[in-house]
């Protein structure tokens, strides 16, 4: 029975299409290497779990224990994967979205959402920790997709259409905020000195992907002396 379920999950995994999957070729062709380079790719199917809990409550402590603490202030990221660099899919990160609202991000796979033994998954562990008390644990993996914008010109591309102060003295590595990029609501996470993860909702992924590609184009051109 469990084996059948696992096999069915594998079939379903194979059938999934990511919101920006059709742009994969365009992303790799539009990526620029070199001193003023900037690359864009989609990191599809990351596990995302929406968590709500009141700071200081027993639920807060129990949920935090599962993931290595919940963030307590604007911009903060906690969890075992909080320091993940670009391209790594290790650990679990918890992003602050509001005083009582958080976004848990983890790798794709049965360890995150189940398919293995009940309660052994991250989602199962969080639901157990919630234990029906006031709060929320919801699988939101299909809500957003993940873009990774990296390279020396990544910040310059973002600054064209994001009003936040992205200078490193203000927007430090390990900061994640909910904001607008090109008027698209998106979560922006600075995972490294020159690497950002952007989480747009699935229906905005096509627009934002093409928008960022457009912003990257000038860096492919030979600089006029």
């Amino acid at each position: 029975m469990a084996q059948t379920a696992e096999r069915e999950n594998d079939v379903i995994r194979g059938l999934r299409r990511s919101p920006a999957g059709h742009l994969a070729d365009a992303f790799s062709q539009g990526s620029v290497s070199g001193e003023q380079g900037v690359t864009l790719r989609e990191v599809p199917f990351l596990t995302m779990i929406g968590v709500r809990a009141a700071p200081g409550s027993a639920v807060w402590d129990r949920l935090g224990a599962v993931m290595g603490g919940l963030p307590e202030r604007y911009g903060q990221v906690t969890g075992s994967g909080a320091g993940d660099g670009p391209g790594t899919e290790q650990g679990v990160s918890v992003l602050w979205l509001g005083p009582q609202e958080f976004l848990v991000i983890a790798a794709d796979g049965p360890n995150a959402l189940g398919g293995g033994a009940a309660g052994a998954s991250l989602l199962g562990g969080l639901l157990d920790a919630l234990a029906g008390d006031p709060g929320q644990v919801v699988d939101l993996s299909a809500n957003r997709t993940t873009f990774e914008l990296a390279g020396p010109s990544a910040r310059a591309v973002l600054e064209k259409s994001c009003a936040l102060d992205l200078h490193p003295r203000e927007f430090t590595v390990g900061t994640a905020v909910n904001t607008q990029i090109g008027l698209i609501p998106a979560v922006l996470w600075k995972v490294d000195e020159a690497a950002f993860r952007i989480f747009p909702r699935a229906s905005f992924a096509d627009f934002l992907g093409r928008w960022l590609l457009d912003g990257m184009r000038e860096y492919a051109a030979v600089e006029v002396p």
């Binding site: 509001g98 905020v177 008027l183």
Partner: protein, 106 residues
Amino acid sequence: MLLFSCPNCGPRDETEFHYGGQAHVPYPKDADALTDKEWSEFLFYRDNTRGDFAERWVHSTGCRQWFNMLRDTVSYEIKAVYPMGGSRPDQPPATAAQTQQKGQQS
């Protein structure tokens, strides 16, 4: 573009916020007893102030939290940002009895 100071996130573009109308409109204490006219006035009738106006805003593409703001409707100057349920900073705080009489916080 106006910059609003969200109590949670700090200064952000006004396009990240949505308007929630006049603040401090108390829910009627006994809504069932109202006439249709009184009920419609509670639902739809709001002040049209020239000058300082207390209004509700939500940071919809940020922390998704509501707050109150005191804004000059002529100059658009933002005089104060204060929490939901707080009293207007330009008026003496209501006593506990007054607040109870007014009904639900707004």
